[in-house]
Symmetry: D2
Subunit: 401 residues, 4 copies
Amino acid sequence: MDFSIPGPLAETLSHARAFLDEAVLPREHHFLTHEFYEIEPELSLLRAEVKRRGLWLPQAPKSLGGLGLSVLEHGLMSEVLGRTPYGHYLFGCQAPDAGNMELLHQFGTDAQKAQWLLPLTRGELRSCFSMTEPETPGSNPTELACRAVRTGDCFTITGRKWFTTAADGAAFAIVMAVTNPDATRHSRASQLIVPTSAEGFEIVRNIPVMGHPGQGWASHSEIAYRDVKVPIANLLGPEGAGFLLAQERLGPGRIHHCMRWIGICERAFELMCKRATSRRLDQGRPLSHKQFIQGYVAESRAAINAARLMVLEAAWKIDHAGFAAARVDISLIKFFVANVMMKVVDRAIQVHGALGLTTDTVLAHYYAHERGARIYDGPDEVHKAAAGRRILDGYANDGDA
Amino acid sequence: MDFSIPGPLAETLSHARAFLDEAVLPREHHFLTHEFYEIEPELSLLRAEVKRRGLWLPQAPKSLGGLGLSVLEHGLMSEVLGRTPYGHYLFGCQAPDAGNMELLHQFGTDAQKAQWLLPLTRGELRSCFSMTEPETPGSNPTELACRAVRTGDCFTITGRKWFTTAADGAAFAIVMAVTNPDATRHSRASQLIVPTSAEGFEIVRNIPVMGHPGQGWASHSEIAYRDVKVPIANLLGPEGAGFLLAQERLGPGRIHHCMRWIGICERAFELMCKRATSRRLDQGRPLSHKQFIQGYVAESRAAINAARLMVLEAAWKIDHAGFAAARVDISLIKFFVANVMMKVVDRAIQVHGALGLTTDTVLAHYYAHERGARIYDGPDEVHKAAAGRRILDGYANDGDA
Amino acid sequence: MDFSIPGPLAETLSHARAFLDEAVLPREHHFLTHEFYEIEPELSLLRAEVKRRGLWLPQAPKSLGGLGLSVLEHGLMSEVLGRTPYGHYLFGCQAPDAGNMELLHQFGTDAQKAQWLLPLTRGELRSCFSMTEPETPGSNPTELACRAVRTGDCFTITGRKWFTTAADGAAFAIVMAVTNPDATRHSRASQLIVPTSAEGFEIVRNIPVMGHPGQGWASHSEIAYRDVKVPIANLLGPEGAGFLLAQERLGPGRIHHCMRWIGICERAFELMCKRATSRRLDQGRPLSHKQFIQGYVAESRAAINAARLMVLEAAWKIDHAGFAAARVDISLIKFFVANVMMKVVDRAIQVHGALGLTTDTVLAHYYAHERGARIYDGPDEVHKAAAGRRILDGYANDGDA
Amino acid sequence: MDFSIPGPLAETLSHARAFLDEAVLPREHHFLTHEFYEIEPELSLLRAEVKRRGLWLPQAPKSLGGLGLSVLEHGLMSEVLGRTPYGHYLFGCQAPDAGNMELLHQFGTDAQKAQWLLPLTRGELRSCFSMTEPETPGSNPTELACRAVRTGDCFTITGRKWFTTAADGAAFAIVMAVTNPDATRHSRASQLIVPTSAEGFEIVRNIPVMGHPGQGWASHSEIAYRDVKVPIANLLGPEGAGFLLAQERLGPGRIHHCMRWIGICERAFELMCKRATSRRLDQGRPLSHKQFIQGYVAESRAAINAARLMVLEAAWKIDHAGFAAARVDISLIKFFVANVMMKVVDRAIQVHGALGLTTDTVLAHYYAHERGARIYDGPDEVHKAAAGRRILDGYANDGDA
């Protein structure tokens, strides 16, 4: 076992961190208090600088112009980038585009790659992944209402999706729809690439999350698909393989989220410590002299260390034995890390007092916009039950033998 | 001991509840998705209806046109009103006006009552209470930077306040300012009535809380007092008694908050149960069949019952032995109930899944806008330490005897 | 609503408390460090003194020589008695005898009363209640393996029971056994009075709980019933009514436990506070100056107040509307109060440091011997699920209407 | 970073585990239900077998006949051994002897090594470490009352110690005593080797922990030192260096405990899963089908993984950068892992129901005898405050610069 980070990777991480500290954190408050389309031009300039520094697309293979980091290595990078809500976007590894790149890279035809993947890797357009529906259990992609009926060379898509992240302004959506309603549970759905300019594709609203509808990349849309027609060539992967592809996408997606959450934890922790040492109480003693605060710091540090090591071990397992081997681990970190994050953010707010509720720090943003972490990609309860069952199954077999 | 609610009170509560169910809840989503000044006219009509039904000012003495409820009775009323964010406002017992009415009623001169109290009780104007400052510990009103210097017949006020709730659109502020900097710690400050039209009174901003600056009654302002002059007649209570009056105001204020939070708990609990029984999972079984959900419901119900009884007992103690006797109780409920509320709201969101994050239910509003409950009027940590010390003092004396 | 305790009851409680403080607490350490049969003579003398002071059998009707307290009143008494592990025993209201008295009083024939109930109420003999079995789920009395077969005038009982509290030295057991295996689920079992002198009744062992087998009243036995014959006259209540009677017994039993646990909470809290104020740290400052300790005290006080009020409200509900009306409440307090108790005891140990692990205080006894509180009479999980389901059922009906 | 265990070590661990599974676990119940002196002969035979298999003294350098494992490697071994309360004893790495070996190895004179260290490494005698005192704060070794006065060639030791683990039957004690009362705080105490046969050395009692006084290695004694004389040659390390040596001893001691606790966690987890899959509820469905149980399993697995990785990372840090570098980490794992352990043991008991309270599984032993883990070698609160302060100090310096 070895907990050290090899020199070259350490250097890359340090460059990434330096860039964020110099160029992004000083602008973060401005970004947080303006809508996405207002700040997009400045974000574009920063992205260009990331490319210039050779840090663009850390997660993508070198053949796509990325840094070709392993899952573990990207985990460490993601921890750095997660320190600000804009880190992943600026480095080209933001959800949902990173997951879509992976899907297209693995399952796309040459034509799909040329049309959609390449401009995506260059940051020239954005995409979205349209799976969750308002009326069916989001945690179960086998229960979809959205239909895609094949007639001739076309699929005609009808249905309603919501919480399609970043649909506003995206060039295309990857849509999960039932193409084979009579197939076995896991073979009913397919994934289809739908240009957002297609007739019948309508963004009904950007859903207000904790009161904010957001904009552009920073939004989640409700979308009506009204007889949207796409050519057969837009089928991504085999027909009926939608669920399998979704699994391929969500597995890594979950660990990417967990990695990013560690970065959020570290940022909130840092803010908490800085506030505790700078805020003076009566008689000039800093807040950090209070045992309650020391307790929050120690408990948060322990929890973050725990979360971080679990995420890195899961990433290492994926690198060495594949996603299937890390399935239980991913369920465990999905709920564990999300809860650590919300707890640390909550404590950091508490240490800031009223200031923590305002937009004067990034904490309120995290509190409101990361609450979803315990819900999306499978709520806590689903992952707990799934991991518990899978572990217990091992003992049941044992017992019966 | 008797846990029953006497018939006439039960009837009043039931009228209040019926009014909310009929006239307010159907409009709540509209209210939540519009700014205060947009909905104020409709709220005014509803207030008129409350007066017509004889339910106006439940907490105020009959001499002021109120229902003259005891603290315990108003606790039960407040539980009903807390079911929607607009309940207290519509019945005329909303913070900060209710507290200001009490201050003016107890300590105001006849002239002050005529000018400020009476229109306040009629709902003709609004007020605010301007104590907390950005740079001094909010939990300690003896550490104020704001100064009021007396020259001739005037006080000249200089300082900066923030989180002055409902200052936007208020007719006057009650301002805590240091008038006697050389007095003993608890005798330095005084309370002054400041018309918001006074020269030098400037609302710098409505502070964005979880991203929302809000408006009117539903906002918290940062205020600059730039040499604001008020006549000596605007002194509320004796000079140097500001801290004492603040105590008088905050004690009841805290229990009023706790009572309101019980209402929020009940509302969130109700939404959680309704969602759990109506949401179908795969194979049509409702979410309520899951043990995790049953656990959330049972734990929430126990916690709400606990919180409710503690608040009512504290109210009863105040009615029978005065605020001083209930000091430890008030500190205990301040942190206990706020935490129960946030936990129940959090669970209700979790049971709603993605829907819980949207404005389609009231839960996201509570999650974002009641997080402050664990901070304002003394953060959890201050109340825990204070209650702990006070209890332990009893044993120390005992031990020394 | 009224939270006051009426004068005469307050006086009775105060007499009970004074007796414990004077006569029992000074001997508690001796009792705790000796086995039951060693201390039984001294306990008998103390019981005689309780009778002399007119405090014997607080829970029993006056017709049986008791004080005739209501459930609520006995709840308050039980809180006092729970301050020491010997309180209930000394006052004649200890489990399992109190529950058996109630069963015999309600359902016993005149002969059964004369033979078993009267000497029980006088403290002349002890009894036990033999329901739980090692191989069947203890939380479900409808799944019993123990059989009682009727032949002629006799029942012949065969089976194995465990955790039969206080069987060691008891004069008789009330045994749950299946008499009608083909009846509907809740009509299969009956209750039978079995003298422990009956042939075939064998105490296999006193089960070591946390390593202690205990003795006499302070023990839990594993019992083999090997073709034990009892006359038909020993049937308690109607044949097939065993489950119904068990419900009658367990409902009150649960609230009696909860009441006792409040007493344990108060004792542990008192010890914690005394230790915190008397233990000196470096430089002579007491432990109570530490915020962590203040936090433990405040959080414990809040939790105990909560638990206490919930128990009293449930008792009041039973007094006024019967057990059925308080069913959910009893499930809620069963898990809520047991957890508060274990948490408070745990904190009190922590505040005592190594001393808390020793027999030098009563805390280690509570820690080891009350852990079962979260298991017996239905584990936490069963009560949470049951209460959750029952509450949710209300909403489901509502929703369907 | 690399989370794999190298082949040869994996093989050693697997041998150790196989030995425990074959030779020890089948005897564990017997051991748990008998006192130490009754089982010592059998334990000796098992130790001989451990030596024969080449697994003796895993933590000790090869020069002392040990396996020479690094801290990280011994962490993994300790995890295996911790699965049963007898693992460490059987392999020769049990507290307090392992720590004493380390002290003697590092600081002992040749004569001391010959007389005490060598027989200790061969398992021919036992030792104890006598530091904690009943009347002074155990968490602070600079506040000692025990005195050692030098006269001529002798030290005369006077004082009272308690919780001296394994003193009963030990050949010698290493005693912390104040030799230089006027020196600076951290230079007052020295460590002295005291044969337990010395005149004036008296074991007052084996302290009952959770009611058990225990015996031999499995006990904690209160000891009176009544003018015990030892030659100057028995001074261990320099005069006045007692505190420094204690730090040297306690740092590793803490991580050794944490490693052992992981083994306890794994054992309790395994028992919980086996019980959940084998226990049938009504209608024959296993307990493991219940979501509450799945939740306990998932949450426990996550917590154990977290604890395990944190301990291993701290061990790795010690191996590569020394104890000083891992100081905060050790404080964090001390409280984090102890709490995870107690929580997992508690859940495992809950899943076992009444059975979990008995001696029929090892769980009750862990529940009662590992509760001290949150107290000895610094209670949770001391480590939280210490780690919190140390972390915050980093930010304070940063802030001031």
